[in-house]
Subunit: 418 residues, 2 copies
Amino acid sequence: MAKVEVAAVSTREDCLALDEGDALAAQREQFTLNEGEIYLDGNSLGPVSRAVSTRVNQVISTEWGRGLARGWSEAGWMEMPVRLGDRLAPLIGAQPGEVLVADTLTFMLAKLIGGALDLRLDRHVVLTDVANFHSDLYIVQAMAARAGRPVTVKAIERRALESELSDDVALVMLTQVDYRSGEALDMKAITRAVHGAGALMLWDLAHSAGALPLDVTDAGVDFAAGCTYKYLNGGPGAPAFVYVRSAWQGVLQNPLPGWLGHARPFSFESDYEPAKGMQSFVTSSPPVIALAALDGALDVWDHVTIDEVRAKSLALTDLFIQLVETRLPGIFDVVTPREHEKRGSQVALRHPDAYGVVQALIECGVVGDFRAPDIARFGFAPLYLRYVDVFDGVERLVKVMNNERFLDPRFATRRPVT
Amino acid sequence: MAKVEVAAVSTREDCLALDEGDALAAQREQFTLNEGEIYLDGNSLGPVSRAVSTRVNQVISTEWGRGLARGWSEAGWMEMPVRLGDRLAPLIGAQPGEVLVADTLTFMLAKLIGGALDLRLDRHVVLTDVANFHSDLYIVQAMAARAGRPVTVKAIERRALESELSDDVALVMLTQVDYRSGEALDMKAITRAVHGAGALMLWDLAHSAGALPLDVTDAGVDFAAGCTYKYLNGGPGAPAFVYVRSAWQGVLQNPLPGWLGHARPFSFESDYEPAKGMQSFVTSSPPVIALAALDGALDVWDHVTIDEVRAKSLALTDLFIQLVETRLPGIFDVVTPREHEKRGSQVALRHPDAYGVVQALIECGVVGDFRAPDIARFGFAPLYLRYVDVFDGVERLVKVMNNERFLDPRFATRRPVT
């Protein structure tokens, strides 16, 4: 991975020079961004690219418009979940036929959790991170309650994982990059430890896919799922992806089955018989228009590598941290780890008035977001973000802090944007 | 409901005259249809209307394109599931706040089945129709298996329903219009009988919504769900709708919960506390682009009533049956009931070579579909179908039957279109 050195950078001109030499710079043109606005919220929702509009309109005007119901066979709609899964697979180090795109992240987790618990019938504990995204916590509790035997979900501190692993642990479910702090976990080391206890490992890759290189194959990951509306720019509420290691296919059963996961969907048989491979994890008719949007959004990956993206991501976050600490010393607690291998593609700054800071910054044309109780969160998506944006963003942050605009009474109510 | 009398119709001119006087005729212009093609497959996938394209492109270019993550609050994306539910509610006789649009039909059924079984803990049987759509059969079996107590799913003949009702029946799940035969069940009478046995009633309205007037309120229905890609023209794989009677809201629990169904989603709390009302049945971030397509598709209902649509639907299906029996006597077994109150908006013709008949007809520009083993299925969607289309469609069917084109060896393999 080509390393971009930013340690010595401090001027706007330095940043402009880095942009000049940036191999990814040309990709920015593909995206719709607001003139003068610095968008540091792509870790919440990525922007739209031209290919999204083209592909969606192709479906509306031609595939659906002219083909009508024939689209299911003639336009390849039925195969979209598997085809898009194969497009996305290299980004997480999966093999062809191991990834599927459909449904939503929470439902995909429900399928994986339910299926995984059925594979360890003699075990009664699921471990997860107390700091996990709350939707993950709700669905794991819900599926544990329906496991057909007493299963306890323990939401633990991450550092307690090894001591909590026992021969009663069926499944460990963790999120690889923490949505709040931006800390990245060592997928391989943790998976190995979990396997050492005879448990199964499920990773939530919501904040990882498209942000940093992953190798689920090498890490020995059993199952994973993630969303496609953050660093993959698939659009608001875009479908989720699911990964099932090939060794588990045909063994792991989909606990929420539907007709399109049947071995012979058009035989209309009363009893469920799973299709081979990932197709058995398809439940319903694919959401074609939403999948088309994602299909377009994935086009950018035909021209860039995740390693290039990662190199620039680390440079951007290094630069941001460096500038924040230089220009605003002692004002923020940088929650995100300094070590590259422990960092996702976002930086979290802790401040007692984080909510007001984020709102005041948005008014100044820098979009980040707030996560309760005291985190200002900034995402750095290398496909459309420039070094100079980081520089200008921090300068605006300096203004917001210096004039104490974040204390504006309008920001007293802590109602986050999203 | 204005009744259109077609008993005396027999000529093409008669049909043209009916089209001339048809109050719904103007709606056809809103839809994309192929010149010269007669589309009798809207019961599988409805065509695209202009407003779909307009609304989707508004989201892509403005709400998402310019608003980015702010769309969640500023463009009302968060409220879309409930807002679209309210738009759709009058079509099924539901009250505001009783319908939600999200996910897929099978997942919505999973939520309702799981929740309903938790309301009848002392009962151990679910009754459903052996002829139900197979995805419904798979998911009811799957959710029964996770009920936390032994629950048996009995897939019975419809006529055996009353005799199978007992005080051990927790839930009855039926589809109001049979996907194969087009037979419509008496929702009110059946719901009353089910309630008489102390059981809960769940209706699948996939082939009903937008096709015929329903009154879930008057019928005392507990729960219902349906899809929006058939007579509601929401697009391939469009989201599903779910109905929960207001009396059950706050009582029925969503067994597959997610963060957006939480009472305080942005407090990021570890334990699930359901939101009030239908919001608790939202699991994940709404699929905004797909919902926008449906939003556009529902515009047509601002200009027409479901009663008008039903009157024309019955006239179209009467006309089709009459012409088929007059022009092709003794060739087909008309499976769909003659009685209006027992008919959905499709006509099913049984023929040993139904597969070949459908394929040969498609070649002649009449799109219907095949359902195993021997049903040729034709949907009649009054928003874009003309009386003269029915006439011309039957004339093409006459040609196909007279020249035995359906015996073409290419059609020997029974691979259905969808």
